[in-house]
């Protein structure tokens, strides 16, 4: 069936080189995390650990409150993603299905805010959070993001516009209000779009570094990225085994999320690209 033409050989070669390059750093990260200290500094480096050890992981959990930082990250990310999905779909519903004065202008403002880079808002946002007394507090990590994002609202609105209104009209005839229509009809129908927005937001906020780095200053409150970056600039800075153990545990949950929800990632990119 598939005759192996010269072209196919070339394409496979290119993709194998590309895939190997993509995996290489991740492979070494995991491999080193299971190596004994003396095996890390052998020359040339061995691909796999001579003896598999969990020493680095034990050291990681005893040198910084890693378990706490893991739970911080999980909790904060979950709350932000849940908040964005709920509040952005509410906003999207208003834009897609309701008539109200100022709708078009407000929508333009939403689009415009998507263009504002974080660089510009970073300092004033920190001052606002500081005014609320939320520095080094979960609220500081969550508040700026959990009430929805313009991108999420925009993407969900685009998706809702593709849903035919007939279903809602029947419900409306039966006296259903917007709240009922939103929760009972629209939300279930936009599930695929929620999955796309949700997985991207999960990855983004799990990996976010700049904002947590600015707003958190104690080990107990740190998220994983800030935690391992701090570890790298501490006395453990050259303890590659421990650092790679931290990096592995930071990346691993996302790889699992990605493998489970792969379809939504690929779909999501295709939607973004063809907008």
């Amino acid at each position: 069936m598939h005759r192996l033409t010269l072209r196919a050989v070339l394409v496979h070669t290119a993709l194998i080189i590309g895939s190997a390059s993509a995996l290489m750093p991740l492979f070494w990260m995991i491999s080193i995390s299971f190596k004994l200290p003396q095996d890390i500094f052998t020359m040339p480096p061995s691909w796999l650990p001579e003896t598999v050890t969990f020493e680095n992981y034990q050291k990681l959990f005893s040198s910084i409150p890693f378990a706490r930082q893991f739970l911080n990250t999980l909790g904060v990310t979950t709350v932000i993603v849940a908040g964005q999905l709920l509040f952005s779909s509410m906003g999207a519903y208003a834009f897609a299905r309701m008539r109200f004065p100022g709708r078009e202008h407000l929508f333009m403002v939403f689009l415009a805010t998507m263009m504002v880079p974080q660089v510009v808002t970073l300092i004033p946002t920190f001052i606002i959070i500081r005014t609320f007394g939320w520095v080094n507090h979960y609220m500081g990590l969550i508040a700026p993001y959990a009430l929805g994002s313009a991108v999420a609202t925009f993407m969900l609105r685009q998706f809702m516009l593709t849903i035919p209104v007939e279903l809602e009209e029947a419900a409306r005839m039966d006296g259903a209000g917007h709240l009922t229509i939103f929760f009972r009809i629209i939300l279930p129908l936009v599930r695929p779009a929620l999955a796309v927005v949700g997985v991207f937001a999960f990855v983004f906020f799990w990996n976010d570094f700049l904002w947590p780095q600015v707003v958190i200053n104690s080990e107990q409150m740190k998220t994983l990225t800030v935690g391992i970056a701090g570890l790298a600039s501490s006395v453990y800075g050259t303890d590659w085994g421990v650092l790679m153990a931290g990096a592995t545990l930071t990346v691993l949950p996302l790889i699992v999320v990605f493998l489970v929800a792969q379809r939504y990632f690929i779909e999501g990119i295709q939607i973004t690209g063809l907008k």
Binding site: A8, W28, T121, F182, A229
Partner: protein, 311 residues
């Protein structure tokens, strides 16, 4: 094309007639939008103006701010560290944007062919993008390590020179750019591939009948029709590169050696949160904002006009 039924719905009857139907709908709409509006107002629009105000002051966050007018902006011009940082940022963008585009275009072309195992390749190529930048930057720091890193070990084996990837000022920014390209290439490739898939097949069929080579088809059909996607990839990589570069540089070089990798984002962060020069840092971030807008408009003009030519 609205969905308001022509007959009055029962709910109009059951409510007191104080508010009209339209007014109630408007009120409900704003309630639905309230969380979004609070968020955008408090964390995007207000900071946008507050930042401008802060940039006109001298403020260390401890004492109260002193109004200095345009002094911070005047100071920008006579700051050699800023000029260096602008240069580093420009250099970084000039490597990451075209470099990233070429790499991801090659991957996209490979992915766009009809071969087996496409989904597996796609998944693997996408992994760097979901991996935390801070974590993979740590792994790369080991790879680049001159004594026991894998990169120089490999170069030594095949007898090539072994640069000091992160401690040689001339090389460090290249090393950082490589990590950035590595992390985003798969994502951008899938974007470009989606763009390629949306090009109608009959263009290629017609070109084949006219005897066009694969190379000609790429330059005459794929590339021109892909311009909107290429533009999107370029703008997003430009904007992302600021935050992403900060993460990579924070972990791998700390802006060094010397100031060789101190991109603008890092310089802003350092001024604000290390030196507590909030006013000055805000002024730089506004400069960066204006630069970003200018570059985006420029890219829009260059690629946008090109796209119209072929229609």
């Amino acid at each position: 094309m609205t969905n308001i039924p022509i007959t009055a719905s029962p709910q109009t009857v059951s409510h007191p007639p104080m508010l009209s139907r339209e007014a109630r709908e408007g009120l409900t709409a704003y309630l639905f939008l309230a969380p979004n509006l609070i968020s955008l107002g408090l964390f995007v629009v207000a900071p946008l103006f507050a930042g401008l105000a802060i940039s006109l002051t001298d403020w260390d966050m401890m004492s109260s701010p002193t109004w200095v007018g345009a002094a911070n902006y005047a100071g920008l011009l006579s700051d050699p560290a800023l000029m260096l940082s602008l240069k580093v940022t420009l250099l970084y963008s000039l490597m990451v944007i075209p470099g990233g585009l070429i790499v991801s275009m090659l991957i996209a072309l490979a992915l766009n062919s009809d071969i087996r195992g496409l989904r597996i390749y796609q998944a693997i190529l996408f992994l760097p993008y979901v991996s935390s930048t801070v974590a993979v930057a740590l792994a790369w720091k080991w790879i680049y390590n001159p004594q026991y890193g894998i990169l120089n070990a490999a170069l030594r084996t095949i007898g090539l020179p072994q640069p000091d990837w992160l401690t040689d000022p001339a090389v460090a920014i290249v090393s950082v750019a490589i990590v950035s390209i590595w992390q985003t290439a798969g994502y951008n490739a899938i974007l470009l591939m989606a763009g390629m898939r949306s090009i109608p097949k009959h263009y290629y069929e017609a070109a084949s009948m006219d005897g066009a080579t694969g190379w000609q088809k790429f330059w005459r059909i794929t590339l021109p029709l892909l311009k909107p996607t290429i533009f999107f990839v370029m703008v997003t990589s430009l904007i992302n590169s600021f935050i992403q570069s900060f993460n990579i540089i924070f972990v791998m070089t700390g802006g060094g050696p010397g100031n060789a990798t101190k991109v603008l984002m890092f310089y802003i962060w350092e001024n604000a949160f290390n030196f507590f020069k909030m006013g000055y840092a805000s002024a730089i971030s506004y400069l960066l904002f204006v630069l970003l807008i200018a570059v985006t408009i420029l890219q829009l003009r260059v690629t946008g006009r090109g796209a119209e030519e072929i229609r």
